[in-house]
């Protein structure tokens, strides 16, 4: 591939496109078949009671490379995590790329390598894909949409609706690292930090949790909208109240710093490797211990409890002893000065 930058020719359906796909994508992902569909089967899927899990997300992060990861890593982790939090064993991913004219081919190669590495780590295969090229200014470098297929073994049931009073809320680690790291990396606010995105695949962690805490009610990937949104969703769906302890929230000093400077609430910051788990109280310790055996769970913690208060209401006991409601975010969090 002699080209250094993607041109519209790479999206035109001809030789340049074929060359781009073969040299940059399929040579790394190595799909089984050169048809435009993957043909798959897994023993687990043919067992009675097993179900197929299917999910998708588009990834549009700016900048596409940031401390702790890149859009490719997120695109794999995000979909692996969406499968895992539903109790599925992630098996196969599709990856569709929308590439802006003028994007560096070297950047694409780095992204693809990072996807491959992350997929290998998660034990999933990228089996089918697509590339489109759009004119300059019609996309922002590269957008990736992954879809994931996994198998939910017979008998496994994870649903927010199963949450009930007395359950406890766990997280696997620090909150808001991704959101704060990205905000700093974007440079708009001219902040500099050593923060690193928490971006990680959580499939193995979920398997460990489910082994240790088999009655786990539900799990959620606390991405956009942060932990606060996930807690509100769970409380709404299950018709329960949830109380979080501010003093228990695992927050890095720098995340606090970014939030203080910009007037943001870390509970609403996006994460890319942070689970919220609802487990029965008597399995909480086991779940935490299981998470702590893995690097992505090293800072696992209980952050709250499920109660019988007003259905759908999430409150936080502040470090000051007061209580406040933690509502769904309105719109998006805007940095503020007052």
């Amino acid at each position: 591939m002699r080209d250094q930058f993607v041109t519209l020719a790479h999206g035109g359906g001809g030789k340049a496109m074929r060359e781009l796909i073969e040299e940059v994508f399929t040579s790394v992902f190595e799909p089984d078949l050169m048809e435009d569909q993957a043909r798959l089967m897994d023993d687990a899927l043919q067992e009675q009671g097993a179900r197929l899990a299917f999910t998708t997300d588009s990834f549009v992060v700016d900048p596409v490379e940031f401390p702790g990861g890149d859009i490719g890593k997120i695109a794999v982790c995000g979909t692996v995590n969406d499968l895992a939090v539903g109790g599925a064993r992630p098996l196969w991913l599709s990856a569709a790329f929308i590439i802006e004219e003028g994007t560096e081919i070297a950047l694409l190669r780095r992204i693809v390598a990072s996807m491959k590495a992350e997929a290998d780590k998660a034990g999933v295969r990228i089996v089918t894909g697509d590339t489109k090229v759009v004119g300059r200014g019609s996309a922002d470098k590269v957008f990736i949409t992954t879809a994931g297929v996994g198998v939910i073994p017979a008998g496994r049931k994870l649903e927010a609706g199963l949450t009930h009073a007395g359950d406890v809320i766990l997280v696997n680690g620090f909150l808001g690292d991704h959101g704060a790291a990205i905000m700093a990396a974007r440079g708009d606010m001219a902040l500099s930090t050593d923060l690193v995105s928490d971006c990680a695949g959580l499939g193995h962690l979920m398997e460990a949790v489910l082994a240790a805490a088999p009655d786990t009610r539900a799990a959620r990937d606390a991405t956009r909208g942060g932990v606060a949104s996930v807690l509100n969703e769970i409380a709404d769906t299950a018709g329960v109240s949830i109380e979080v302890e501010e003093t228990d929230l695992p927050l890095r000093a720098e995340v606090r710093g970014v939030c203080e400077i910009l007037g943001l609430d870390p509970l609403y910051l996006a994460n890319e490797g942070t689970l919220v788990l609802v487990v029965p109280a008597d399995q909480a310790d086991a779940a935490i211990a299981a998470m702590k055996t893995l690097p992505e769970g090293a800072n696992a913690k209980k952050i709250g409890t499920v109660g019988t208060g007003q259905a759908g209401r999430v409150t936080m006991r502040t470090l000051f002893g007061g209580a406040r409601i933690v509502d769904m975010l309105v719109g998006e969090q805007l940095p503020r000065i007052c």
Binding site: A184, A190, L191, R256, G257, I261
Partner: protein, 96 residues
């Protein structure tokens, strides 16, 4: 209104424009130090200031901060004394 946060000035970045790097919990941001640089600009390095919209607005007075905290702690101690006294009273009462 007027979100402000204490930060420490760690280095001068642009003397002509009165800019310096401030640090808040490990997060760095360039700020203007005109309001606190009454003497040579280099003197602000190491100082703590209240940062607002990219300006170091006011130098933080360590002694005053300590005094305020002391007053707050004083209340706590006073209370402990009161509690101790109350406990003493109760004990006395119990004894009665």
């Amino acid at each position: 209104m007027c979100l402000g946060i204490p930060g420490q000035i760690i280095e001068i970045t642009d003397e002509a424009r009165m800019m310096a790097m401030a640090e808040v919990s490990g997060v760095k941001r360039e700020v203007n130090v005109s309001c606190i640089a009454t003497g040579p600009i280099g003197d602000v390095v190491g100082k703590w200031a209240l940062i607002h919209v990219g300006f170091a607005m006011s130098e933080i007075d360590e002694d005053e901060a300590a005094k305020t905290l002391e007053a707050l702690r004083g209340l706590g101690e006073a209370e402990e004394t009161l509690e101790a006294m109350a406990a003493g009273d109760a004990a006395l009462e119990g004894r009665a």
